[in-house]
């Protein structure tokens, strides 16, 4: 032992700046390599997931009365007419039914890697960063994205087993707009969406003032559809946070004052406003998602993306 200590102290005495650098560099390199190796693990994009019946009917609608409500973070008073809105997000099963029906009657076509359909275009003002969206066919859903919860065999769309009652994702704003329009409905406006989520008071979340992991599906909320060491946070079935217990995971009934589910978390929801500001070609989304922190689940928080964007954490519901 004495010999080891003397050798070490001798080395220390002889050490020069480069040897310090070398040691530090090696330590940093080991850390970096470990990190990179851990980061290269492949992800199963369609892992086996538990199947739960939440008991919430995705075909249900709710009536929202006409009148004033508090809009936005700073509680501006706004008004809407009376309207109806879906109680849940559109599910994968509902959207697949639409795709098959619309493919059969020609509303939806297959073009390359996408199911596409006609959109009449946006007004164009030539503003900085404005996207030109002329009348034409636009992508509704990608056909071969492994993160999609449906498959396409060249003629027919089908739901991946287990995902039937999950919110439809990987759908563009055009695809959401087309779904609602196909049945004679429409996407809710931003005002309608916020009113349906908030009711008549100034609450930040659909269920009230505070958020816990039992209220909604958000990043690291530890629900049964989450594995942060591999695939991360997946969607939960629509209406999951309704007070039921799922294999020991107890939820809180997180419905909005008007009885809507998943108005915070799970998936961002497209709203229907086109060019709310002149030259703003993005489409707005609300509600936060399974992949965002709780702060993004506050009712007034906006996200936006071009209407052709689709992602595994973006869905929608319809209004009428």
């Amino acid at each position: 032992m004495k010999r080891i200590i003397s050798v070490l102290s001798l080395r220390a005495k002889r050490s020069n700046p480069l040897s310090h650098l070398k040691t530090s560099f090696l330590a940093a390199l080991i850390l970096l390599v470990t990190t990179l190796l851990a980061s290269c693990a492949p992800v199963d994009l369609n892992p086996p997931v538990p199947v739960y019946d939440t008991g919430v009917d995705p075909n249900a609608w709710v009536q929202i009365p006409a009148g004033e409500f508090y809009f936005g973070q700073h509680n501006e008073i706004e008004t809407t007419d009376a309207y109806e809105i879906m109680v849940t997000d559109v599910t994968v099963a509902q959207y697949v039914d639409f795709l098959n029906a619309a493919l059969a009657d020609g509303t939806v076509k297959i073009s390359g890697e996408y199911a596409v359909g006609f959109y009449p275009g946006d007004p164009f003002h030539g503003k900085k960063h404005e996207l030109r969206i002329d009348p034409g066919d636009y992508p509704f859903v990608p056909l071969n994205d492994p993160a999609s919860r449906f498959t396409f065999d060249g003629q027919h769309f089908a739901v991946r087993p287990g995902w039937e009652n999950h919110p439809m994702t990987n759908v563009s704003w055009f695809g959401a707009w087309a779904y609602c329009g196909y049945y004679g409905w429409r996407l809710p406006t931003e005002l309608e969406w916020e009113k349906a989520a908030r009711g008549k008071d100034t609450r930040p979340f659909p269920w009230g003032e505070e958020i816990t992991r039992q209220h909604a599906n958000f990043y690291a909320s530890r629900d049964p559809f989450e594995d942060m060491s591999s695939y991360g946070s997946l969607t939960t079935p629509v209406g999951f946070y309704n007070g039921k217990s799922y294999d020991g995971f107890q939820t809180v009934n997180a419905a909005s004052p008007y009885g809507l589910y998943d108005m915070a978390g799970n998936v961002w929801q497209w709203v229907g406003d086109v060019q709310p500001q002149e030259g703003f070609s993005d489409r707005l989304m609300h509600g936060g998602s399974r992949n965002t922190y709780d702060m993004d689940l506050r009712i007034w928080v906006r996200n936006s993306a071009p209407p052709m964007y689709y992602g595994p954490a973006v869905g929608f519901r319809c209004g009428r």
Binding site: P17, H20, S24, H129, P146, W268, F280, P312
Partner: protein, 500 residues
């Protein structure tokens, strides 16, 4: 009583004591409020801290809280830079004292009462005291600008004739003897004071009704009000000015001089003025071309920083190989790296091009082709990551100068310096990859990469904070010693320790 008086005098009347207090305040605030976000929030630590400290968190006020948090930390950083400037540059004693008193009282009031107001219920007296603190800092800035007046005959540099290397003739000056380095400090101070108004006016406007917003959340909206543009301009320019000021401070500490100094200082002045004009132009009809003016202004400023880097590295190499007749490449490299506290600041400036400038330029060039095709939240991550990285780099440069200031020597100096460089660069490199991850990985597949990056970020920053905590505890223990290091520090001014 004498025990307390002597420590108080050290902490609140000497340059190094004042800097120590400000670093300790930032460290304390970072330690507490850092537990409200990031991995601590996911682990449930946030809720414990909120309950334990009795914080009152209102969801709708998150943006307002964050703005006060950023300001309270930024004010302490501005105070540290001010202490450094007043310690490094000659100025009349009245101004030196007045500036220090005002900014010390100001940042402590802004920090204590601002955070008290934001996180512990709305005590309106606290809000008033917070605003008073900010106003005092502004006034300190005005006085500092006056104190730095480069046209004052007392601060002119004499003719270079007859002076040797390292003499005043080696520094940038005009024909009439105006010290251009002082002019650069003056320009930066002056433009900082003016740019503060661009935050103060909309701050008063929005704060009156508390309609606060974070700039990154409205970045895509094509229609912004003048007040909103003013806030966006303010936050961009203030951080840039803090970065310019620390570059000048590091140059002074290292005794930047010679031909490159003579080229760099006019560039710094020009860049600073044009950069500010561009940012101020955001609130004028010049808005459509403001970005172009900003790029034009940023170029000479960054070029000046590059010249400092070249000079500093070549000086380190020359000094480290002076005893060798024909040094090899490795010997030169060894000389360059032998003192991490002298090498580190300029290295961090270079590294900044990877984490901040490079990312920013790439985003600007590819904005419509790539970044605006993604959701706005992705862009938010890029924007906030971008300026968090710049802020952290500035903090590491300050810490390295502080390490030299307190006389770290030998192995401790090596460990302290290299730990700051490696830990921060690993963390900030990971932040940069995190910002840009959508370029090479889809949202569905990102989790393992995100985990890996988070380990790198959290462990890097965590260990850096631990290092800072060790230094702070050491300094605290030192204060209890009758002949501690603090007694020595109290008698040395920064200007005396400038490299020869």
């Amino acid at each position: 009583m004498q025990f307390l008086k002597s420590r108080f005098n050290y902490l609140f009347t000497t340059t190094k004591g004042l800097i120590l207090v400000a670093i300790a305040m930032i460290a304390l605030e970072t330690a507490i409020w850092g537990m409200l976000s990031g991995p601590m929030a996911e682990m449930g630590v946030r809720e414990i801290v909120i309950k334990a400290l009795g914080m009152k968190i209102v969801q709708a006020e998150r943006e307002g809280r964050i703005i006060i948090l950023y300001h309270s930390i930024a004010m302490a950083v501005v105070a540290i830079e001010t202490y450094m400037i007043t310690g490094l540059l000659t100025m009349r004693e009245f101004y030196k004292k007045a500036v220090r008193v005002l900014i010390t009282v100001g940042y402590l009031m802004a920090m204590i009462f601002g955070m008290g107001f934001a996180y512990f219920g709305h005590n309106w007296a606290f809000h008033g005291l917070y605003i008073t603190g900010l106003a005092l800092i502004f006034f300190a800035g005005v006085l500092l600008t006056i104190a730095l007046n480069p046209w004052d005959p007392a601060y002119r540099l004499p003719s270079p004739a007859g002076r040797g290397a390292g003499g005043e003739g080696d520094y940038a000056r005009t024909q009439s003897g105006i010290d251009l380095e002082r002019a650069a400090f003056f320009t930066t101070a002056l433009t900082t004071v003016i740019s503060a108004i661009f935050g103060a006016v909309p701050g008063s406007y929005f704060g009156n009704g508390f309609e606060v917003f974070l700039a990154e959340n409205i970045i895509r909206l094509p229609e912004k009000t003048t007040m909103e543009y003013s806030v966006i301009g303010h936050l961009h320019i203030m951080l840039a000015l803090i970065a310019i000021m620390i570059t000048l401070i590091i140059g002074r500490w290292l005794n930047f001089r010679g031909l490159l100094h003579k080229i760099a200082m006019p560039l710094m002045i020009l860049g600073c003025i044009v950069l500010n004009l561009g940012v101020w132009g955001v609130v004028t009809p010049l808005e459509p071309v403001a970005h172009m003016i900003i790029y034009v202004g940023a170029t000479p400023s960054m070029l000046a920083a590059l010249l400092l880097l070249i000079w500093s590295w070549s000086t380190l190499i020359k000094e480290g190989t002076a005893h060798l007749a024909r040094p090899t490449f490795l010997q030169k490299l060894g000389a360059l790296l032998r003192d991490p506290l002298k090498f580190g600041p300029t290295w961090q400036m270079l590294f900044m091009n990877f984490t901040t400038s490079g990312v920013g330029i790439f985003m600007a060039i590819k904005l419509d082709d790539i970044f605006r095709l993604w959701p706005a939240r992705e862009e938010r991550i890029e924007l906030t990551g971008h300026w968090h990285a710049l802020s952290a780099i500035i903090a590491t440069i300050i810490l390295m100068y502080y390490g030299d200031m307190i006389g770290l020597k030998g192995k401790i100096r090596q460990v302290y310096g290299w730990a700051i460089i490696f830990l921060s660069d690993i963390a900030l490199g990971a932040v940069t990859v995190f910002e840009m991850k959508r370029l090479f990985i889809s949202e569905a597949e990102q989790q393992p990469l995100v985990n890996g990056l988070m380990y790198a970020i959290d462990s890097g920053l965590g260990m850096l904070l631990l290092l800072l905590a060790i230094v702070m505890v050491w300094r605290l223990i030192d204060l209890f010693k009758p002949k501690g290091r603090w007694t020595e520090e109290a008698t040395h001014e920064l200007a005396e320790e400038v490299a020869k």
